[in-house]
Amino acid sequence: MATVVTSNEQIREIEQLLYKEASFLDRPDLDRWIELYTEDGTYWMPAIPDQEDPHNHISLFYDDRVLMEVRRRNFVHPAAASKEYAVRASHIISNIQVQDSDAKSGACTVTSNFHCYLYYRDRQTPYAGTYTHELVREGDSYKIKSKRVDIINCDAALNTIIIYI
């Protein structure tokens, strides 16, 4: 993919998509969130910094469409004891940079920094790190082909991460 100068309009459009995705995870509303992803889209949270791939090393999350569909159902299943507690999040995204973009197709790779406070079980947990989104054009809008979430404490002993960050 060739690096090109992106227009303000394009950057604005990308920002709006990232904010929209974050707002669906704030609630969280996985039914609407999943629609932002392509059919072959993936969500990945590595377990170590600079992890090379999701298959030959353990990850905290690596969901493709199939697992997203299962998780979407599980999240609201009345028998899931871990989901009985309120889950609320607040995401702030900044430092958005288009790393790579293809002038012809509009496909691009975008990095951003995020802070997310996640409230779950009377506890508020801060997560911080970097998102890497691969976006592709589908019709008039962008969709997410992959999202990589590098939390800065990915290799610490963490508690349950109840929802996508």
């Binding site: 990850s59 905290l60 004891a81 002993a157 349950t160």
Partner: protein
């Protein structure tokens, strides 16, 4: 209060245990001294220290230790403490060093822990400080390896590892025998998962076959509900073989059976388990056939256990090739580590499946582990109630078969928990 030996013995009855074994910090401290310092505790796998100077650090109970390979390829487990002021000598999870050197005053130690040098020795001249006195070296723990799995103990008088493992060694053998090369190696990193519960709640759940259909119903339902929407000719997915068996019926689990051993070990399954119906990878099958021949391959692959506990610190899944390690922090806090293993001589697809399993079932972000943990922390909080002091463990009591070196019962028997507490009582009341 301080417990007398009799009072401790009374906390465990044949079919019930007192809630204080989970809720009293003093009992936790006694467990660290009497169980965790006396039993064999899993340290790590030899493959994690492949070369001279490779080391890993961890806590043995509350004691910081380091496992290291020396120049003669011997693996040692040493107290991670400088013989001078006591500083930990290495503090990264793993690494490689030519020798130990303290970050404070620069005392240096050989890889087997022997003190090599102290800067500016003149100051000690004429004092009774003797650099060669073993008390100033890094202290060595008694350790033994079984097929690459390294255990250590602070008990100079206990049985050797093979005796201690007893018949439960069959499962560790099976894990290694599932490698065409006859050996396994740690691969693909570790997940560390903080559990806000007593360490025993985690190990009591391993062979608790009465919980999956309740606790894991949501993920099984969700998976089956989605699978229903897929066309029949959709490609096979490992997830579809891994998740649904967690919803197996009481009758299926009953059939798997539980086997208990001395020293608190036990496993469920044997002839069959919830891992028994995984598709056999054709390349793996070919490698196994070549290594073992048909009959031996069949014997290895048809020994199908689910979870095996080596009391108190190690639990393995031979059919999946992952292990979980119990690291107690406090009476109400435990870290569970999940490690995955590569079968030497097997195709890469086998490790990928193991890692998929670890992520899908044991990860902090999974749809299985968090529901188990919810049950544990609710027990931890619920037991603050003094409505009753006792937790029962009656299921199938008196109906398990005593077969000499082992006890065998139906899959839903509480014999696993009774096996653990029989060991608990013995460790906790044996004269120190």
């Amino acid at each position: 209060m301080s417990y007398t030996e009799e009072q401790i013995a009374d906390l465990v009855q044949p079919t019930k245990v007192h809630r204080k074994v989970y809720t009293d910090p003093e009992i936790f401290d006694l467990e660290m001294e009497r169980i965790w310092a006396k039993s064999w505790i899993y340290i790590g796998h030899e493959s994690q220290v492949p070369e001279k100077g490779s080391y890993i650090t961890l806590n043995y109970g509350k004691v910081p230790v380091v496992m290291v390979r020396d120049g003669d390829s011997h693996v040692h487990v040493l107290h991670n403490r400088c013989g001078h002021k006591g500083a930990k000598l290495v503090d990264k999870p793993c690494g490689k060093i030519p020798a130990f050197r303290c970050c404070y005053h620069g005392w240096r130690y050989r890889l087997d822990g022997k003190l090599l040098g102290v800067p500016h020795m003149q100051g000690y001249e004429g004092t009774d400080f003797d650099k060669d006195d073993p008390q100033y070296s890094m202290q060595k723990m008694k350790s033994e390896s079984y097929r690459g799995f390294v255990f250590a103990t602070m008990n100079p008088d206990g049985p050797d590892v093979k005796t201690w493992l007893g018949g439960a060694a069959d499962v560790m053998d099976n894990l290694c025998d599932r490698a065409p090369g006859g050996e396994v190696e740690a691969a693909g990193g570790v997940l560390r998962y903080e559990h806000e519960c007593n360490w025993k709640m985690f190990i009591e759940n391993l062979n608790d076959t009465m919980h999956p259909m309740i606790v894991h119903r949501s993920v099984v339902d969700s998976a089956l509900d989605y699978i229903k929407t897929l066309p029949e000719d959709s490609p096979r997915r490992d997830e579809a073989e891994i998740i649904p068996p967690f919803g197996a019926s009481y009758e299926v689990f009953e059939e798997t059976g539980i086997t208990g051993f001395p020293f608190g070990h036990h496993y469920d399954g044997g002839k069959t388990s919830i891992h028994a119906d995984y598709t056999l990878d054709p390349d793996y099958e070919a490698a196994m056939l070549k290594a073992y021949g048909k009959k031996r391959m069949y014997d290895i692959l048809s020994f199908n256990t689910h979870n095996t506990l080596y009391y108190p610190s190690l639990t393995i899944k031979s059919a999946v090739q992952n292990i979980r390690v119990v690291r107690p922090i406090a009476y109400n806090k435990t870290i569970i580590e999940t490690w995955s293993f590569r079968l030497k001589g097997a195709p890469d697809s086998m490790l990928k499946r193991t890692l998929l399993y670890s992520r899908l079932i044991n990860s902090n972000g999974s749809m299985v582990g968090p529901d188990d943990l919810t049950a544990y922390f609710r027990i931890q909080e619920g037991l603050q109630s003094q409505a009753s002091d006792w937790i029962e463990m009656h299921r199938n009591f008196g109906r398990d078969d005593e077969l000499g070196d082992r006890t065998v019962g139906k899959g839903t028997s509480d014999l696993d928990v009774r096996t653990q507490f029989s060991a608990w009582r013995q460790y906790m009341t044996e004269a120190a």
